[in-house]
C-alpha cells in the first residue's frame, strides 16, 4: 500500500523493526480469491531461501503454473469442491480453476499484508508512491476459497486445514458470514485449532456499520478488525450555478468536464421508478439525463454500478450523495465518467439547489490526491460495530486499522471497478472495506512474530490492542464519520493500531488453549460441542464456576442486567461484578500503576492492587477489577478505560458497560 506505512509510523528509524531476514522467516496465509502472480508486489528480489519449515505447494491449474510461485509467493492452493458441489462445475471461460485471482480482492489483501516494495505505484496517478506491504519481506501463501459465486464453508475449512499443515504463521481472512454459534462457524472452528498451534488469525469485522451489533468473526481466539481512514483523500470540486462550491471524492481519470456549467438533475426527477433516486439499472430516462450531471443517492446497488447506469443513459457526470446511513463518509471510486462522491450534508444542499432553481447547472473539477488530511483516522461508516451479540461479555471489534481508500495490488483480469464494461487494466487499485483493514493487522502481526518468535497469538493480539490509540494528539476521541461524534469502544475496540508501540508493549494479556476451554465451559458447551471446535476430549469441571468475563482478554465488556421493573424501580441495589486479569511482563523490570478514566457516574471501578512490580521477563501478576454499577434503563451504554503505566509503557484497556 502507499501512504499507510508512513501513516502507521513504519517508516521511522529502521532500528524499531525486526531485521528483514527475520521477517523473511514469517509466512502469511491469505484465504481469499487468489492472486495475480505477475504483480511486481510479488517480486522476490532480495529475499533469501524459502523458510525450511515450509511444507506448502504451488498448485497448478488454468493459467497458473509452478513458476507462478517464487520466494515471495511461496504457496498457492485452490479449493473449489464445495463451490462446485453447490454451483456445478466451474466454467473455465468465466473463472480460473487455479489460484489465479479473477476478482482482484485477493491480490489486494495479500499485497497489503506482505507485498514487496514497488516504487512509482499509483492508480491513474492517484495515491502515488512506493507501495509496500505491512511486512514487505514476509512470505505469502494464497489459499483461493472465494469464487464468482461466493465463499463456501467446506472450502474454507479445507483451506485452513491445509494452511496449518503447510506451516503458515499468520492467517488472514477478509471474509465473514452471519455469526452463528462458534461450533457451527467454520472460520471459528478453523481458527481455534490454528490458534492452538500458535498461528495468529485475523479477520475482518464486517461492513455492516454503522448499525450496532453488526459484527462478524467475533470468536475470542480471532483478532477482529474494524476500519478507519488515512490522512489521505482524493478531492474533486463541485461548482453549482449559484456559485457555491463543494468538495467530493473521486478517482475518475478520464477527460474532465469543462469549467463551464452544464445542467444538473436529481435522478428521482429523471426516472419513473419509485426508487429512481438510486440510479438502479435501467431506471433513468435518457431524455431527461442526456448531457447532464445526475445526482444519485447511495444504496441499492454498487457505487460504480450507478456511474455505469448514468453513463449508459447519456449522463455527462454523476454526483453520488450519501444518505443518513453513511453521513459524511466519502469513498473514492474509479468511476467511468466524471463523478464526485459527497457527504449527506453536501448532497442535501445540492438537491435543494436543484429544486429551487428553474435551470440548475453545475460542473465537477478533475481530481487530485491530498495528504495530511485531518482529523484522521476517522472510523469508517461501514465498519461493523459492537456490541458482540454472540457473547456480550467479550468486547469486539478488537481494534481498527486503515480500511478506506487503500491502494494495493489488483488482478489483471478485470478493471478497477470490476464492471464487465471496464476494460482498463491496472496493477494497483484503491478500494475500501474491513477487508482492507484486516490484512494490515495480519501484516503487522507478522512483523511482531518476526521480532518476537516466542509470542503466542494472544500475546500478539494483546500487544496490538493495549498500545492502540483511541484519541487524537489533542486528547479528543477518534471521530466516527457516520455520526461526526466521538467513537466508542463498540466502534474502535481498543483503538487504532500503533505498530511501533506494539513492538514494545511492556505488559501483555496472554491466553492459553486451556483459557479458551474454560471460555467454552462458561458458554455451557457440551463435551460434543467442545470436541467439534477443539478435536479434544475436555470435560468441564462440575465444581468450577466458569465465567465468560474471566477470559484473560485485553479489554472488558460488562454486560449488566437491568432489574425487572416489578422487583426493580427506585432504590434497586447496585450490581457488583468482579473481573480477574493476569498480566505478563514482556519488558525490563518495572513498576506499573493503574489509572481508570470513566465517563460514567453510574459505575464505580476499583482495581486491586493498584500497583504491580515486575522483576523479570515473563513474570505474571494478577489483579481484580470490581465494578459496582447502579441500575440504568435497559439499552444504556457507557464506557471507561483502564491503564497500567510505568511512565514508559501504557497498557490500555477499553471498558464497555451495557444494561439489558
Amino acid at each position: 500500500t502507499t501512504r499507510t506505512p508512513e501513516f502507521l509510523g513504519l517508516e521511522k528509524s529502521v532500528s524499531f523493526f525486526p531485521a528483514s531476514v527475520k521477517v523473511g522467516e514469517v509466512i502469511v496465509g491469505v484465504l481469499d480469491t487468489g492472486v495475480w502472480p505477475e504483480l511486481e508486489s510479488f517480486d522476490d528480489t532480495g529475499l533469501g531461501p524459502v523458510p525450511v519449515s515450509w511444507k506448502g505447494e504451488c498448485e497448478v491449474g488454468k493459467n497458473f503454473t509452478s513458476s507462478s510461485c517464487n520466494r515471495k509467493l511461496i504457496g498457492a492452493r485452490y479449493f473449489s469442491k464445495g463451490y462446485e458441489a453447490a454451483f456445478g462445475a466451474i466454467d473455465e471461460s468465466q473463472e480460473s480453476k487455479s489460484p489465479r485471482d479473477d476478482d482482484g480482492h485477493g491480490s489486494h489483501t495479500s499485497t497489503t499484508a506482505a507485498g514487496s516494495a514497488v516504487t512509482g505505484a499509483s492508480l491513474f496517478g492517484f495515491a502515488a508512491g512506493t507501495a509496500k506491504g505491512m511486512a514487505a519481506e514476509a512470505r505469502v501463501a494464497t489459499y483461493k476459497v472465494c469464487w464468482l459465486g461466493g465463499c463456501f464453508g467446506s472450502d474454507i475449512l479445507a483451506a485452513m486445514d491445509k494452511a496449518i499443515e503447510d506451516g503458515v504463521n499468520v492467517l488472514s481472512l477478509s471474509l465473514g458470514g452471519s455469526s452463528p454459534d462458534y461450533y457451527r462457524d467454520n472460520v471459528a472452528i478453523g481458527a481455534f485449532s490454528a490458534t492452538a498451534q500458535g498461528v495468529f488469525v485475523s479477520c475482518s469485522a464486517g461492513n455492516g456499520g454503522p448499525s450496532s451489533g453488526s459484527l462478524s468473526n467475533v470468536a475470542p481466539w480471532i483478532t477482529t478488525v474494524g476500519a478507519g481512514t488515512l490522512d489521505r483523500d482524493f478531492p474533486v470540486y463541485v461548482t453549482l450555478g449559484n456559485g457555491k462550491k463543494f468538495t467530493g471524492q473521486s478517482l475518475y481519470n478520464g477527460k474532465p468536464l469543462s469549467d463551464s456549467l452544464i445542467p444538473i438533475v436529481y435522478a428521482a426527477h429523471a426516472s419513473n421508478s419509485t426508487s429512481g433516486s438510486l440510479c438502479l439499472t435501467s431506471t433513468l430516462n435518457p431524455a431527461k439525463v442526456a448531457g447532464k450531471i445526475v445526482v444519485c443517492d447511495r444504496g441499492g446497488n454498487s457505487r460504480v454500478q450507478k456511474g455505469l447506469v448514468v453513463k449508459d443513459a447519456g449522463g455527462a457526470g454523476m454526483i453520488l450523495a450519501n444518505t443518513e446511513t453513511y453521513g459524511e463518509e466519502q469513498l473514492a471510486d474509479a468511476h467511468l465518467l466524471p463523478a464526485a462522491a459527497v457527504g449527506q450534508k453536501t448532497g442535501d444542499a445540492i438537491k435543494s439547489y436543484i429544486s429551487s432553481d428553474a435551470n440548475p447547472t453545475a460542473t465537477i473539477s478533475a481530481g487530485t490526491t491530498r495528504l495530511g488530511v485531518q482529523p484522521s483516522p476517522l472510523v469508517a461508516a461501514f465498519s461493523s460495530r459492537g456490541p458482540n451479540l454472540l457473547t456480550p461479555q467479550i468486547l469486539k471489534p478488537d481494534l481498527i486499522a486503515p480500511g478506506v481508500n487503500i491502494l494495493a495490488g489488483w488482478t489483471g483480469g478485470v478493471g478497477p471497478t470490476g464492471l464487465d464494461s471496464d476494460k482498463r487494466h491496472v496493477a494497483f487499485n484503491i478500494i475500501s472495506g474491513t477487508s482492507m483493514s484486516c490484512p494490515h493487522i495480519s501484516g503487522l502481526a507478522a512483523l511482531l512474530k518476526a521480532a518476537h518468535p516466542d509470542w503466542s497469538p494472544a500475546v500478539i493480539r494483546s500487544a496490538l490492542m493495549t498500545t492502540a490509540y483511541s484519541t487524537y494528539k489533542t486528547g479528543e476521541a477518534i471521530q466516527d464519520v457516520s455520526s461526526g461524534l466521538p467513537s466508542t469502544p463498540f466502534d474502535i475496540g481498543a483503538g487504532h493500531v500503533n505498530p511501533t508501540a506494539a513492538l514494545d508493549p511492556g505488559l501483555v494479556y496472554d491466553a492459553t488453549i486451556e483459557d479458551y476451554f474454560a471460555f467454552l465451559c462458561a458458554l455451557n458447551y457440551s463435551s460434543f460441542q467442545i470436541k467439534v471446535i477443539s478435536k479434544k476430549d475436555f470435560t468441564c469441571s462440575g465444581n468450577k464456576n466458569y465465567k465468560l468475563e474471566d477470559l484473560n482478554y485485553p479489554s472488558f465488556a460488562v454486560a449488566l442486567e437491568t432489574p425487572s421493573t416489578k422487583g426493580g424501580g427506585e432504590g434497586t441495589a447496585p450490581t457488583t461484578v468482579k473481573y480477574t486479569r493476569t498480566l505478563t511482563n514482556k519488558g525490563a523490570p518495572s513498576t506499573y500503576k493503574v489509572s481508570v478514566t470513566s465517563k460514567s457516574p453510574s459505575v464505580k471501578i476499583m482495581v486491586e492492587p493498584e500497583s504491580l512490580s515486575f522483576a523479570k521477563p515473563n513474570e505474571q501478576k494478577s489483579y481484580t477489577v470490581t465494578f459496582v454499577a447502579s441500575a440504568m434503563p435497559s439499552g444504556s451504554e457507557s464506557f471507561a478505560r483502564l491503564e497500567w503505566s510505568d511512565g514508559k509503557h501504557n497498557v490500555g484497556s477499553p471498558i464497555a458497560f451495557t444494561w439489558t
Binding site: 481469499d32 480469491t33 479449493f79 469442491k81 464445495g82 458441489a85 453447490a86 480482492h105 472465494c146 461466493g150 465463499c151 463456501f152 464453508g153 467446506s154 472450502d155 474454507i156 475449512l157 479445507a158 485452513m160 486445514d161 491445509k162 496449518i164 499443515e165 477478509s174 471474509l175 465473514g176 458470514g177 452471519s178 452463528p180 461450533y183 457451527r184 462457524d185 467454520n186 472460520v187 472452528i189 478453523g190 481455534f192 485449532s193 490454528a194 498451534q197 475482518s204 469485522a205 464486517g206 461492513n207 462478524s216 472495506g433 474491513t434 477487508s435 484486516c438 460434543f528 460441542q529 470436541k531 467439534v532 478435536k535 476430549d537
Partner: protein, 82 residues
C-alpha cells in the same frame, strides 16, 4: 425438496472409531455409505477439524447424525468478502 442435497460438514469423534476399521478414512467412508450409496466425500479434514464434508439430503443428514462417533452434522455456511 426432500431429495434436494446440501453440503454438510460431518465432525467425527476419532477416539470413538470402531475397532473394525484400520483408519478413520475407511470409517468415514463406511459411515457415509451407510446412509447414501451415491454420496461422495468432498474433503477430509485432519488438522483444524476431524471429519469430512459431503452432499446429503436432509433425511440422510438425520440418519448419519445417529451413528456412532458422529459429533455434529453441520450445514455448510456461505461467507462473503468484506
Amino acid at each position: 425438496a426432500a431429495q434436494k442435497k446440501k453440503t454438510y460438514i460431518i465432525h467425527m469423534d476419532r477416539t470413538n472409531m470402531p475397532q473394525a476399521f484400520d483408519d478413520h478414512f475407511q470409517w468415514y467412508d463406511s459411515s457415509l455409505k451407510s446412509v447414501s450409496d451415491s454420496a461422495q466425500t468432498l474433503y477430509y479434514y485432519n488438522t483444524v477439524a476431524h471429519g469430512f464434508s459431503t452432499r446429503l439430503t436432509v433425511e440422510e443428514a438425520k440418519l448419519i447424525e445417529k451413528q456412532q462417533g458422529i459429533l455434529a452434522v453441520i450445514p455448510e455456511l456461505k461467507y462473503d468478502l468484506h
